[in-house]
Symmetry: C2
Protein backbone atom coordinates (compact mmCIF):
# COMPACT_ATOMS: atom_id res chain seq x y z
CA UNK A 1 0.00 0.00 0.00
CA UNK A 2 1.38 3.42 -0.92
CA UNK A 3 1.19 6.62 1.17
CA UNK A 4 -1.83 7.99 -0.70
CA UNK A 5 -3.81 4.77 -0.30
CA UNK A 6 -2.95 4.65 3.41
CA UNK A 7 -4.10 8.24 3.83
CA UNK A 8 -7.37 7.57 2.01
CA UNK A 9 -8.11 4.67 4.34
CA UNK A 10 -7.22 6.78 7.37
CA UNK A 11 -8.95 10.08 6.50
CA UNK A 12 -11.06 9.61 3.38
CA UNK A 13 -14.80 9.61 3.89
CA UNK A 14 -17.20 7.66 1.74
CA UNK A 15 -20.18 10.03 1.58
CA UNK A 16 -22.25 7.64 -0.52
CA UNK A 17 -23.28 7.87 -4.19
CA UNK A 18 -19.65 7.38 -5.15
CA UNK A 19 -18.49 10.59 -3.49
CA UNK A 20 -15.16 10.30 -1.71
CA UNK A 21 -14.31 13.17 0.61
CA UNK A 22 -10.57 13.77 0.76
CA UNK A 23 -10.83 17.38 1.91
CA UNK A 24 -8.27 16.95 4.69
CA UNK A 25 -5.33 16.21 2.37
CA UNK A 26 -6.31 16.89 -1.28
CA UNK A 27 -9.34 19.14 -1.87
CA UNK A 28 -9.53 21.88 0.74
CA UNK A 29 -6.66 21.21 3.08
CA UNK A 30 -3.65 19.90 1.15
CA UNK A 31 -0.77 17.87 2.53
CA UNK A 32 2.18 19.32 0.58
CA UNK A 33 4.54 16.51 1.58
CA UNK A 34 2.14 13.85 0.29
CA UNK A 35 1.48 15.90 -2.86
CA UNK A 36 5.22 16.20 -3.39
CA UNK A 37 5.63 12.43 -3.10
CA UNK A 38 2.81 11.90 -5.60
CA UNK A 39 4.41 14.42 -7.97
CA UNK A 40 7.69 12.54 -7.68
CA UNK A 41 5.92 9.27 -8.49
CA UNK A 42 4.15 10.76 -11.53
CA UNK A 43 7.48 12.17 -12.70
CA UNK A 44 8.93 8.67 -12.54
CA UNK A 45 5.92 7.01 -14.19
CA UNK A 46 5.89 9.53 -17.05
CA UNK A 47 9.65 10.04 -17.37
CA UNK A 48 9.72 8.51 -20.85
CA UNK A 49 6.65 10.02 -22.56
CA UNK A 50 8.47 13.14 -23.73
CA UNK A 51 6.00 15.67 -22.29
CA UNK A 52 6.72 19.35 -22.84
CA UNK A 53 3.88 20.69 -20.68
CA UNK A 54 1.45 19.59 -17.96
CA UNK A 55 -2.25 20.39 -18.24
CA UNK A 56 -4.75 20.22 -15.40
CA UNK A 57 -8.07 21.75 -14.37
CA UNK A 58 -8.57 24.22 -11.56
CA UNK A 59 -8.95 23.85 -8.67
CA UNK A 60 -7.99 20.54 -7.17
CA UNK A 61 -5.76 19.42 -10.01
CA UNK A 62 -3.31 22.25 -9.36
CA UNK A 63 -1.49 20.70 -6.40
CA UNK A 64 -0.56 17.33 -7.99
CA UNK A 65 0.13 18.98 -11.37
CA UNK A 66 2.44 21.52 -9.75
CA UNK A 67 4.47 18.95 -7.81
CA UNK A 68 4.74 16.78 -10.93
CA UNK A 69 5.92 19.90 -12.78
CA UNK A 70 8.55 20.54 -10.12
CA UNK A 71 9.98 17.04 -10.56
CA UNK A 72 9.76 16.97 -14.37
CA UNK A 73 10.87 20.60 -14.77
CA UNK A 74 7.85 21.37 -16.96
CA UNK A 75 5.40 24.30 -17.00
CA UNK A 76 1.88 23.64 -15.76
CA UNK A 77 -1.25 25.09 -17.37
CA UNK A 78 -4.49 24.93 -15.45
CA UNK A 79 -7.72 25.22 -17.39
CA UNK A 80 -9.88 27.98 -15.88
CA UNK A 81 -13.56 27.51 -15.10
CA UNK A 82 -14.31 31.16 -15.74
CA UNK A 83 -12.54 33.57 -18.03
CA UNK A 84 -10.44 36.17 -16.17
CA UNK A 85 -10.10 39.67 -17.59
CA UNK A 86 -6.45 39.01 -18.37
CA UNK A 87 -7.38 36.34 -20.94
CA UNK A 88 -7.75 37.18 -24.65
CA UNK A 89 -11.21 37.05 -26.27
CA UNK A 90 -10.33 34.08 -28.41
CA UNK A 91 -9.89 30.96 -26.24
CA UNK A 92 -10.14 27.18 -26.29
CA UNK A 93 -13.30 26.28 -24.42
CA UNK A 94 -15.07 23.02 -23.76
CA UNK A 95 -17.79 21.82 -21.40
CA UNK A 96 -17.57 18.95 -18.95
CA UNK A 97 -20.07 17.67 -16.40
CA UNK A 98 -18.99 18.18 -12.79
CA UNK A 99 -19.94 15.34 -10.48
CA UNK A 100 -19.49 17.40 -7.31
CA UNK A 101 -21.26 20.46 -8.72
CA UNK A 102 -24.10 18.61 -10.43
CA UNK A 103 -23.88 20.75 -13.56
CA UNK A 104 -21.77 21.41 -16.64
CA UNK A 105 -18.66 23.52 -16.09
CA UNK A 106 -16.55 25.32 -18.64
CA UNK A 107 -12.88 24.49 -19.10
CA UNK A 108 -11.00 27.34 -20.73
CA UNK A 109 -7.40 27.62 -21.89
CA UNK A 110 -5.78 30.59 -23.55
CA UNK A 111 -4.16 29.84 -26.92
CA UNK A 112 -1.14 31.70 -25.55
CA UNK A 113 -0.21 28.63 -23.50
CA UNK A 114 -1.28 25.62 -25.57
CA UNK A 115 0.02 25.21 -29.05
CA UNK A 116 0.73 23.03 -31.98
CA UNK A 117 3.64 20.70 -31.34
CA UNK A 118 3.35 20.61 -27.55
CA UNK A 119 3.28 17.19 -25.89
CA UNK A 120 0.81 17.29 -23.04
CA UNK A 121 0.80 15.28 -19.84
CA UNK A 122 -2.61 15.59 -18.16
CA UNK A 123 -2.59 15.38 -14.35
CA UNK A 124 -5.73 15.64 -12.20
CA UNK A 125 -6.88 14.74 -8.72
CA UNK A 126 -9.65 12.29 -9.72
CA UNK A 127 -10.24 9.92 -12.60
CA UNK A 128 -13.90 8.96 -12.18
CA UNK A 129 -16.23 9.18 -15.20
CA UNK A 130 -13.27 10.56 -17.15
CA UNK A 131 -15.34 13.47 -18.47
CA UNK A 132 -13.15 16.26 -17.06
CA UNK A 133 -9.98 14.62 -18.33
CA UNK A 134 -11.62 14.02 -21.71
CA UNK A 135 -12.44 17.74 -21.76
CA UNK A 136 -8.76 18.50 -21.19
CA UNK A 137 -7.88 16.12 -24.04
CA UNK A 138 -10.27 18.05 -26.32
CA UNK A 139 -8.66 21.36 -25.34
CA UNK A 140 -5.18 20.00 -26.03
CA UNK A 141 -6.22 18.57 -29.38
CA UNK A 142 -8.05 21.77 -30.38
CA UNK A 143 -4.73 23.58 -30.05
CA UNK A 144 -2.90 21.03 -32.18
CA UNK A 145 -1.01 19.67 -29.17
CA UNK A 146 -0.71 15.93 -28.60
CA UNK A 147 -1.63 14.23 -25.33
CA UNK A 148 1.12 11.81 -24.28
CA UNK A 149 -0.03 10.64 -20.85
CA UNK A 150 -2.77 10.87 -18.24
CA UNK A 151 -2.25 10.69 -14.48
CA UNK A 152 -4.71 10.91 -11.60
CA UNK A 153 -4.17 10.75 -7.88
CA UNK A 154 -7.31 8.73 -7.26
CA UNK A 155 -9.18 6.53 -9.71
CA UNK A 156 -12.67 5.20 -9.13
CA UNK A 157 -12.55 2.24 -11.49
CA UNK A 158 -16.29 1.56 -11.08
CA UNK A 159 -17.13 4.83 -12.89
CA UNK A 160 -15.55 3.66 -16.12
CA UNK A 161 -13.32 6.63 -16.92
CA UNK A 162 -10.40 4.48 -18.01
CA UNK A 163 -12.53 2.84 -20.68
CA UNK A 164 -13.73 6.23 -21.94
CA UNK A 165 -10.11 7.41 -22.22
CA UNK A 166 -8.87 4.26 -23.96
CA UNK A 167 -9.38 5.89 -27.35
CA UNK A 168 -6.78 8.54 -26.47
CA UNK A 169 -4.28 5.69 -26.64
CA UNK A 170 -1.74 6.94 -24.07
CA UNK A 171 -0.48 5.54 -20.76
CA UNK A 172 -2.97 6.14 -17.92
CA UNK A 173 -1.61 5.97 -14.37
CA UNK A 174 -3.35 6.48 -11.07
CA UNK A 175 -1.81 6.28 -7.61
CA UNK A 176 -4.82 4.96 -5.70
CA UNK A 177 -7.29 2.80 -7.64
CA UNK A 178 -10.58 2.31 -5.84
CA UNK A 179 -12.67 -0.57 -7.13
CA UNK A 180 -15.60 -0.30 -4.77
CA UNK A 181 -17.23 2.16 -2.40
CA UNK A 182 -20.24 0.01 -1.63
CA UNK A 183 -21.77 -0.08 1.83
CA UNK A 184 -19.60 2.73 3.18
CA UNK A 185 -16.30 0.94 2.54
CA UNK A 186 -13.32 1.92 0.38
CA UNK A 187 -11.71 -1.02 -1.45
CA UNK A 188 -8.63 -0.70 -3.64
CA UNK A 189 -7.80 -2.71 -6.74
CA UNK A 190 -5.33 -5.38 -5.63
CA UNK B 1 16.89 41.73 -8.63
CA UNK B 2 15.42 38.33 -7.72
CA UNK B 3 14.11 35.69 -10.14
CA UNK B 4 10.46 36.70 -9.72
CA UNK B 5 11.21 40.37 -10.40
CA UNK B 6 13.25 39.44 -13.46
CA UNK B 7 10.41 37.29 -14.77
CA UNK B 8 7.86 40.05 -14.21
CA UNK B 9 9.98 42.46 -16.24
CA UNK B 10 10.43 39.85 -18.96
CA UNK B 11 6.89 38.45 -19.26
CA UNK B 12 4.54 40.53 -17.10
CA UNK B 13 2.12 42.74 -18.97
CA UNK B 14 0.82 46.03 -17.64
CA UNK B 15 -2.76 46.01 -18.90
CA UNK B 16 -3.52 49.43 -17.42
CA UNK B 17 -5.76 50.38 -14.48
CA UNK B 18 -3.29 48.65 -12.16
CA UNK B 19 -3.80 45.22 -13.68
CA UNK B 20 -0.64 43.17 -14.06
CA UNK B 21 -0.93 40.11 -16.25
CA UNK B 22 1.37 37.33 -15.09
CA UNK B 23 -0.59 34.52 -16.73
CA UNK B 24 2.48 32.93 -18.28
CA UNK B 25 4.13 32.00 -14.95
CA UNK B 26 1.67 32.55 -12.05
CA UNK B 27 -2.03 32.75 -12.93
CA UNK B 28 -2.87 30.37 -15.76
CA UNK B 29 0.40 28.84 -16.75
CA UNK B 30 2.60 28.26 -13.70
CA UNK B 31 6.37 27.90 -13.62
CA UNK B 32 6.82 25.23 -10.94
CA UNK B 33 10.56 25.85 -10.60
CA UNK B 34 10.03 29.56 -9.96
CA UNK B 35 7.15 28.79 -7.55
CA UNK B 36 9.38 26.33 -5.72
CA UNK B 37 12.07 29.00 -5.35
CA UNK B 38 9.49 31.46 -4.02
CA UNK B 39 8.21 28.83 -1.59
CA UNK B 40 11.76 28.26 -0.37
CA UNK B 41 12.20 32.00 0.13
CA UNK B 42 8.92 32.31 2.08
CA UNK B 43 9.96 29.34 4.20
CA UNK B 44 13.18 31.17 5.06
CA UNK B 45 11.46 34.53 5.68
CA UNK B 46 8.84 32.95 7.97
CA UNK B 47 11.04 30.30 9.59
CA UNK B 48 10.74 31.94 13.02
CA UNK B 49 7.03 32.84 13.23
CA UNK B 50 5.96 29.44 14.58
CA UNK B 51 3.22 28.80 12.00
CA UNK B 52 1.27 25.55 12.27
CA UNK B 53 -0.73 25.96 9.06
CA UNK B 54 -0.74 27.94 5.81
CA UNK B 55 -3.91 29.62 4.59
CA UNK B 56 -4.50 30.89 1.07
CA UNK B 57 -7.38 31.59 -1.30
CA UNK B 58 -8.18 29.58 -4.41
CA UNK B 59 -7.16 29.72 -7.18
CA UNK B 60 -3.91 31.52 -7.75
CA UNK B 61 -2.73 31.41 -4.15
CA UNK B 62 -2.50 27.63 -4.23
CA UNK B 63 0.82 27.33 -6.07
CA UNK B 64 2.93 29.61 -3.82
CA UNK B 65 1.16 28.34 -0.67
CA UNK B 66 1.83 24.73 -1.64
CA UNK B 67 5.53 25.23 -2.32
CA UNK B 68 5.88 27.19 0.94
CA UNK B 69 4.13 24.27 2.66
CA UNK B 70 6.57 21.80 1.11
CA UNK B 71 9.54 23.72 2.52
CA UNK B 72 8.01 24.42 5.94
CA UNK B 73 6.42 20.96 6.24
CA UNK B 74 3.01 22.50 7.02
CA UNK B 75 -0.50 21.72 5.77
CA UNK B 76 -2.10 24.23 3.40
CA UNK B 77 -5.77 25.21 3.53
CA UNK B 78 -7.23 27.07 0.57
CA UNK B 79 -10.38 29.07 1.12
CA UNK B 80 -13.01 28.04 -1.42
CA UNK B 81 -15.01 30.54 -3.44
CA UNK B 82 -18.01 28.24 -3.63
CA UNK B 83 -19.10 25.59 -1.19
CA UNK B 84 -18.51 22.05 -2.47
CA UNK B 85 -20.95 19.29 -1.50
CA UNK B 86 -18.28 17.67 0.66
CA UNK B 87 -18.26 20.67 3.03
CA UNK B 88 -20.40 20.72 6.18
CA UNK B 89 -23.35 23.15 6.40
CA UNK B 90 -21.71 25.22 9.09
CA UNK B 91 -18.70 27.09 7.68
CA UNK B 92 -16.59 30.20 8.14
CA UNK B 93 -17.54 32.58 5.37
CA UNK B 94 -16.54 36.12 4.53
CA UNK B 95 -16.84 38.40 1.53
CA UNK B 96 -14.02 40.19 -0.24
CA UNK B 97 -14.03 42.38 -3.35
CA UNK B 98 -12.25 40.84 -6.33
CA UNK B 99 -10.32 43.33 -8.43
CA UNK B 100 -10.08 41.03 -11.45
CA UNK B 101 -13.72 39.91 -11.23
CA UNK B 102 -15.21 43.33 -10.47
CA UNK B 103 -17.53 41.93 -7.78
CA UNK B 104 -17.60 40.53 -4.26
CA UNK B 105 -16.51 36.91 -3.90
CA UNK B 106 -17.08 34.54 -1.02
CA UNK B 107 -14.18 33.03 0.88
CA UNK B 108 -15.21 29.87 2.69
CA UNK B 109 -13.29 27.60 5.05
CA UNK B 110 -14.59 24.53 6.78
CA UNK B 111 -14.26 24.57 10.59
CA UNK B 112 -12.76 21.09 10.20
CA UNK B 113 -9.48 22.64 9.07
CA UNK B 114 -9.17 25.92 10.98
CA UNK B 115 -9.31 25.89 14.71
CA UNK B 116 -8.56 27.56 17.97
CA UNK B 117 -4.87 27.51 18.79
CA UNK B 118 -3.60 27.27 15.19
CA UNK B 119 -0.95 29.75 14.10
CA UNK B 120 -1.67 30.80 10.55
CA UNK B 121 0.74 31.95 7.87
CA UNK B 122 -1.20 33.56 5.02
CA UNK B 123 0.34 33.21 1.54
CA UNK B 124 -1.21 34.64 -1.62
CA UNK B 125 -0.17 35.57 -5.12
CA UNK B 126 -0.98 39.30 -4.90
CA UNK B 127 -1.02 41.91 -2.17
CA UNK B 128 -2.83 44.84 -3.78
CA UNK B 129 -5.71 46.49 -1.89
CA UNK B 130 -5.22 43.86 0.81
CA UNK B 131 -8.93 43.02 0.87
CA UNK B 132 -8.59 39.32 0.00
CA UNK B 133 -5.85 38.84 2.58
CA UNK B 134 -7.88 40.76 5.15
CA UNK B 135 -10.75 38.37 4.38
CA UNK B 136 -8.41 35.45 5.13
CA UNK B 137 -7.41 37.16 8.39
CA UNK B 138 -11.11 37.40 9.35
CA UNK B 139 -11.64 33.70 8.59
CA UNK B 140 -8.63 32.73 10.71
CA UNK B 141 -9.73 34.94 13.59
CA UNK B 142 -13.33 33.69 13.40
CA UNK B 143 -11.99 30.20 14.09
CA UNK B 144 -9.95 31.36 17.07
CA UNK B 145 -6.69 30.88 15.18
CA UNK B 146 -3.97 33.52 15.26
CA UNK B 147 -2.36 34.97 12.15
CA UNK B 148 1.43 35.05 12.53
CA UNK B 149 2.62 36.20 9.11
CA UNK B 150 1.54 37.36 5.67
CA UNK B 151 3.41 36.68 2.43
CA UNK B 152 2.62 37.63 -1.16
CA UNK B 153 4.48 36.92 -4.36
CA UNK B 154 3.75 40.33 -5.83
CA UNK B 155 2.86 43.52 -3.97
CA UNK B 156 1.46 46.62 -5.62
CA UNK B 157 2.47 49.16 -3.00
CA UNK B 158 0.44 51.92 -4.66
CA UNK B 159 -2.82 50.13 -3.77
CA UNK B 160 -2.19 50.51 -0.05
CA UNK B 161 -2.77 46.94 1.11
CA UNK B 162 0.19 46.96 3.49
CA UNK B 163 -1.31 49.90 5.37
CA UNK B 164 -4.67 48.16 5.62
CA UNK B 165 -2.98 45.07 7.06
CA UNK B 166 -0.82 47.01 9.54
CA UNK B 167 -3.45 46.49 12.24
CA UNK B 168 -2.91 42.70 12.05
CA UNK B 169 0.52 43.44 13.50
CA UNK B 170 2.48 40.57 11.93
CA UNK B 171 5.44 40.44 9.53
CA UNK B 172 4.41 41.13 5.92
CA UNK B 173 6.77 39.95 3.20
CA UNK B 174 6.48 40.17 -0.56
CA UNK B 175 8.96 38.94 -3.13
CA UNK B 176 8.39 41.55 -5.84
CA UNK B 177 7.25 45.00 -4.67
CA UNK B 178 5.92 47.16 -7.47
CA UNK B 179 5.72 50.85 -6.68
CA UNK B 180 4.39 52.13 -9.96
CA UNK B 181 2.63 50.89 -13.08
CA UNK B 182 2.13 54.30 -14.63
CA UNK B 183 2.40 54.84 -18.36
CA UNK B 184 2.70 51.15 -19.17
CA UNK B 185 5.87 50.61 -17.12
CA UNK B 186 6.53 48.32 -14.16
CA UNK B 187 8.77 49.85 -11.49
CA UNK B 188 9.94 48.03 -8.39
CA UNK B 189 10.60 49.50 -4.95
CA UNK B 190 14.35 49.94 -4.70
Amino acid sequence: MNALQARILKEGKNLGEGILKVDSFVNHQVDPTLMNECGQLFARLFAEVGATKILTAEISGIAPALTTGIHLGLPVVYARKSKPITMPDQVYLTLAPSHTKGRMVELIVSPEYLSNGEKILIIDDFLASGQTILGLVRLAEASGAKVVGIGALIEKTFEGGRDLLKAVNVPIESIARIKSMDAGTIEFVD
